[in-house]
Structure formats: structure tokens, C-alpha cells
Amino acid sequence: MKQSITLGKVTKFMGLGFLSTLKALFTGKLEKEDFIKFLRKIVVPLASILLFIGLWHLGAKTLYDREANFKIEKALEDQGPEAAEVMRACIASGDLSCQPNTLPAPAQVWESYKSLLRDHNIISADKAAFKEKTAALNAKRISEGRAPIVYTGRPSFIDQIVMSLKTVFAGFLLALVIAIPIGILIGLSPTLKSAFNWFIQIFKPVSPVVWYLLVFMIVKTVLIDSTEDSSFVISFISVGLCSMWATLVNTAMGVSSVDKDYINVAKVLKLGPFQKVFKVILPSSLPLIFTGLKITLSVAWMVLIAIELLAQSPGLGLFVWEEFQNGANDSNSKIIVAMFVIGIIGFLLDRLMLTIQNTVSFNKNEGL
């Protein structure tokens, strides 16, 4: 018997159960219990978000005032009362040249977000125009066997997000391809486990920065003839190596701690070794493997920023670093925008993994 798939089931499956409560609100099908649920799942989170923004605003204002007072004070000390007056007027007028540089307020961050989007539209238009202009030339170059001319202008914020996502997925795939097979082997064989254990214990706690340097040393030499930009390769390999440990350890643990009852079933049925691994051991360790993969993906996303920054790979990490170095008036608020974007994408990636996990695994987890 096929069960019907409803919006409620799908959203609950993805750990987004509050959406169906929201739907009930708009369709007017709200029961009394639903109302309590509505309060808890929608009103309370919204209230806490507003509270957060309010506190942020107040905090930012306090910091702004402190910074402004310090500036005026300093002008007074260094250049006398006239300069202090000028400075006070300048700050009050909102002139960009003399604004205190501190934690930006929520409104400023929102402005920067919009300006980043505008910037993206400008760059996209620019790119399209460039493509149109070079289309004929490129066709000719390709027919002559030469490389086409590519757009080399600066990437927009959205381009950088896409770049970061590419890097993190490449790194995640690398981690998956290395960690799962090794994890299974280690879990199955105590001999291999003691062969690999020192390796895992020593390299697991190594910091992302050091992994980056190691990968840099190797990749630099391997790609010594290539004129290609190796920053992408270096960053995705580093991300993969940093993040694979959770999957490796979890897979090994899942495989080695299969319920004894299942092993007994495999023995009584006299399953061959191959069958035993694929029909009993792997399915029963899937929940743990997925827990590992979920941790791996979130670690990958977390270390990505630091690694892109070091590798100068044009993603969000580089964006944050460049804005920090740039020191322009809206740099701070752009960094905060990046912070939120990083957080939200991290959350969405986690939900994505949860959805995949619920699809393939028998052990259905409730979304957190």
C-alpha cells in the first residue's frame, strides 16, 4: 500500500516541521493544540530573533558612541578644541571619511547586504556584456586551437558563495571516498585497526592551517609544470583531509559495533563474508556513518573559511579576509553579512544531510 505524500510529511522529513504549522495558520485549520504549537514553534523563535536584533542594535550603538567619543577626545588632545568640534560635526553629519570603525548595527548590515546584491547585478551584467563582445572572437580562437579569452574581472559575492560551495562539496566527496572504505576496513579487522590507530589518533587533532600547509607543500610540487591556478585544488584537498576524521572514526565504530544479534543471524544463515558485509554490517552501521558524514560536512564548511583565506581561493573566506584588509567604511558590515550567509548555508547543508539520511537509513531521526 502506497502512502500519500503530503506537504506536512515532506517538511517533517526534512526537519522543517514548523512549516506545516504555518500552513495550518494560513488555511485557518488551527486547533487548540496547534495554537500552542504555533506559539512555541513560530512566535517564540521570532520573538527571540527580534530580541537578538534589539540587543545587537543597542550594543552596536554603545560601541559606536564609545568609539566616537574617543575620536573626539583624541582630536582635542592632539589638535585642540577646534579640531574636536570639526570632528564632532563630521561624525554627526554621517560623512564617510570620519565614521567610527566598530561593530556595525543591524540596519547597516542590511544595507551592505543590499549593496552586495547590487554589486552582483552589476558584475553579472558586465560579464554578460563581456561574453557577448568576445563571442565571435572566442569562436575564432577555438577554431584556431587557441584558448578562449575568459572574464578576469573580480568575482561578485554570489560568485564567491558558489565557489565556496564547490570547494566544500569537492572536499566532502574526497573525505567520503577516503574515509568510508578505510573506516569499513578498520572496523572489520582488528589488525588493520591497530595498524591505523596511531595514524588516526595523531592526525585527527591537527589544525586546518597545518593541513593546508602540508597540502600546499605537496600540491605545489606535483603541479609544478601547470600554469593553472592551484588554489582550488589545494583548498578542497585540505578541506577534505581536515573533515574526514569524523566519518572515518564513526564508520569504523559503526562497523565494529554491529549488534551481536545481527551477527548471529548472519552466522545462522551462513552468509558469506561479502554478503555479511553488504547485507548485515553496512546497513546496520548506516546511522553512525551518516552521523559521521553530517559532522564531516559541518566541519568542512567551518574550516573552509580559514583555508580559503590561506589559499587565496576566491570564496567566502577570501571575501572576509579582503574586507578585513580593505578597511573601507562598510567593510565591517560586509563581514557580518558574510557571517550570516556562512551560518545559514551551514544550517541548510545540515538539513540536506538529515534529509538524505532519513531517505536511506532505517533508523529515522527526528530533526533537531
Binding site: 500500500m1 544479534d261 543471524v265 552466522k267 545462522v268 544463515l269 551462513k270 554478503q275 547485507k279 533508523n363
Partner: protein, 281 residues
């Protein structure tokens, strides 16, 4: 020569100072087509005994002979119904049974295998749930799946380790009848491990009590001379049933009391006082 023979079986767990003898000097022989029940208290080593017979464990000393040959490892000839169902939770009812059938009859086509699966799932009245996962089933239904899985392998001997222990009385009665039916149909050999004397009396030809462990050993056997098929309601008036039942329960009570008094004797503490502390404070 008996069908199944256990000769001077000893089974120890642990090593060195922690070594304990769980089973001691077990001798048992079962004839072909017989239904034997072993009754014992919880923790008396029943599951260990079952695992020695089905080949999941090896005895420390002594030997298990099946059809005259020593048992090494498991075999499809001896089907096992586990105490805790042991169904694979990621497979449906049908897939759980199919996996077992496929291992036993590797040469049969998929269609033939499916026919066997359907036959046995039908037999335990679970055709409507064939596509469900164990999690969606009640305890009784899960145990029926385990029964279907063990029987679909068409073993020559069925070994049951408290198969109905976790079920309610009604389901239990139904399943007892189902198991008896199947056993009677092609006269297989059956060994039932249980903690329920009445269950043993209703189902078996012989009941053998297992004295509680450590160092558990088999007690004297009780023959049950009651015509088959047996009727549960009429059993209560059967003088033979009453006599055997009383004898077994008396025996079990006796060994229970014996054990208790032994335990009491063992825990008499020496009458000492911490002299060094007297008057210090």
C-alpha cells in the same frame, strides 16, 4: 545412535581468575522426530546451551554430536528461533525471510524463492504485513516472522530459545499451536528452551529441567504421556498432566530452595569490628 547427542559438555566463560563454569557435565540425547523441552530459571545458562547446539558457541570440554558427527559452526540443518527475534530492521518481513531462503536454496530461481517466502509468511498469518518493517509490527508479529524465517529454511531440527517468552498469553497460545502444527506435519525434531512449565507440558514429549547456574547441569527427565493432539482446556483435568506438572514444579521448587539456602550460607559475614578506630575521635 541418537539424532542429537551432548556428551559431558562443559562451558566456561572468562579467563584466569575470572573464569566461571556456566554449564557443567551436560548429557543429553534427542531422538529423531522427538519434541524435547528444557525448562530452567532465568540466568541458568539456557541460551548458552542453545548456542552450543546450534553451533554459535563451542564447548570448553565435551562434544556435541549431530547425526553422529561433531558440530563445528552453524548449519542450515539446524534452524534457530532466537529469544529476541533478531530480525534485520532495515529489511521488510518478506525480505527478512527471503534472505534466509536464498542462502539455503541458492540454486532456486527468484520466483521459486518468492513462492516459499509467501508460503511461510502466509503460514504465520502475516501476508498482509509482508511489506512492513519489523518496527511497524507488534512483538507477537515479529516473533511470528522469526518463526517463519526459521521454518522457511526447512531445517531438519528446530531449536527454539524461549521463542514465546516476551509475548502475551493469547498470542503465545496461538503460536504454540502453530509451531506444533508445523512440527507435526513433517515430524521434524524440535528442542524448546523455556521458563514456562505449562508450555513445556503442552508441547513436548519430554521435559528436562536445567538446574540453575553457575555449574548448571541437567536434572532428571520427565516423560509426558499425553496423547496428541493435546487440548489445552482438557489438559487441566488430565490426571497424567497434573501428576507430571506437580512433580516438575516440586523439583524446581526444591532446587530453588536449595540454591537459596546455599546462597544464605555463603554470605555469612565474619563478626569483626574496626578496632583501630575505637576511641580515636
Amino acid at each position: 545412535m541418537s539424532y542429537l547427542e551432548l556428551n559431558n559438555i562443559h562451558k566456561n566463560y572468562g579467563q584466569g581468575d575470572y573464569e566461571t563454569e556456566v554449564l557443567s557435565n551436560i548429557n543429553l540425547s534427542i531422538e529423531e522426530g522427538e519434541f524435547v523441552a528444557i525448562v530452567g530459571f532465568t540466568g541458568s545458562g539456557k541460551t548458552t546451551l542453545v548456542n552450543l547446539i546450534n553451533g554459535l558457541l563451542e564447548p570448553t570440554r565435551g562434544e556435541v554430536l549431530f547425526k553422529g558427527k561433531p558440530v563445528f559452526g552453524t548449519s542450515h540443518e539446524r534452524g534457530v528461533i532466537f529469544q529476541n527475534y533478531s530480525l534485520l530492521p532495515w529489511l521488510t518481513v518478506g525480505q527478512n525471510v527471503f534472505m534466509a531462503v536464498k542462502e539455503v536454496f541458492p540454486k532456486k530461481s527468484k520466483k521459486e524463492l518468492n513462492a516459499i517466502v509467501e508460503e511461510y509468511v502466509e503460514m504465520v498469518n502475516l501476508s498482509h504485513a509482508i511489506n512492513k518493517r519489523p518496527k511497524e509490527l507488534s512483538g507477537g508479529m515479529r516473533q511470528r516472522v522469526a518463526v517463519a524465517r526459521a521454518l522457511a529454511m526447512k531445517p531438519e531440527m528446530i531449536i527454539m530459545d524461549e521463542p514465546l517468552g516476551a509475548l502475551d498469553a493469547l498470542t503465545r497460545g496461538n503460536l504454540q499451536d502453530e509451531i506444533l502444527n508445523i512440527w507435526g506435519k513433517d515430524k521434524r525434531t524440535a528442542l524448546l528452551i523455556t521458563n514456562d512449565v505449562d508450555e513445556g507440558l503442552y508441547m513436548a514429549d519430554r521435559i528436562i529441567p536445567l538446574k540453575p547456574g553457575p555449574k548448571a547441569t541437567l536434572g532428571p527427565e520427565f516423560k509426558i504421556d499425553i496423547e496428541r493432539p493435546r487440548d489445552k482446556t482438557e489438559l487441566n483435568d488430565n490426571p497424567n498432566f497434573k501428576k507430571t506438572r506437580n512433580a516438575i514444579i516440586e523439583y524446581l521448587m526444591d532446587i530453588g530452595n536449595e540454591r537459596k539456602s546455599e546462597a544464605q550460607e555463603a554470605i555469612v559475614l565474619p563478626d569483626v569490628e574496626p578496632k583501630a578506630f575505637v576511641g580515636r575521635f
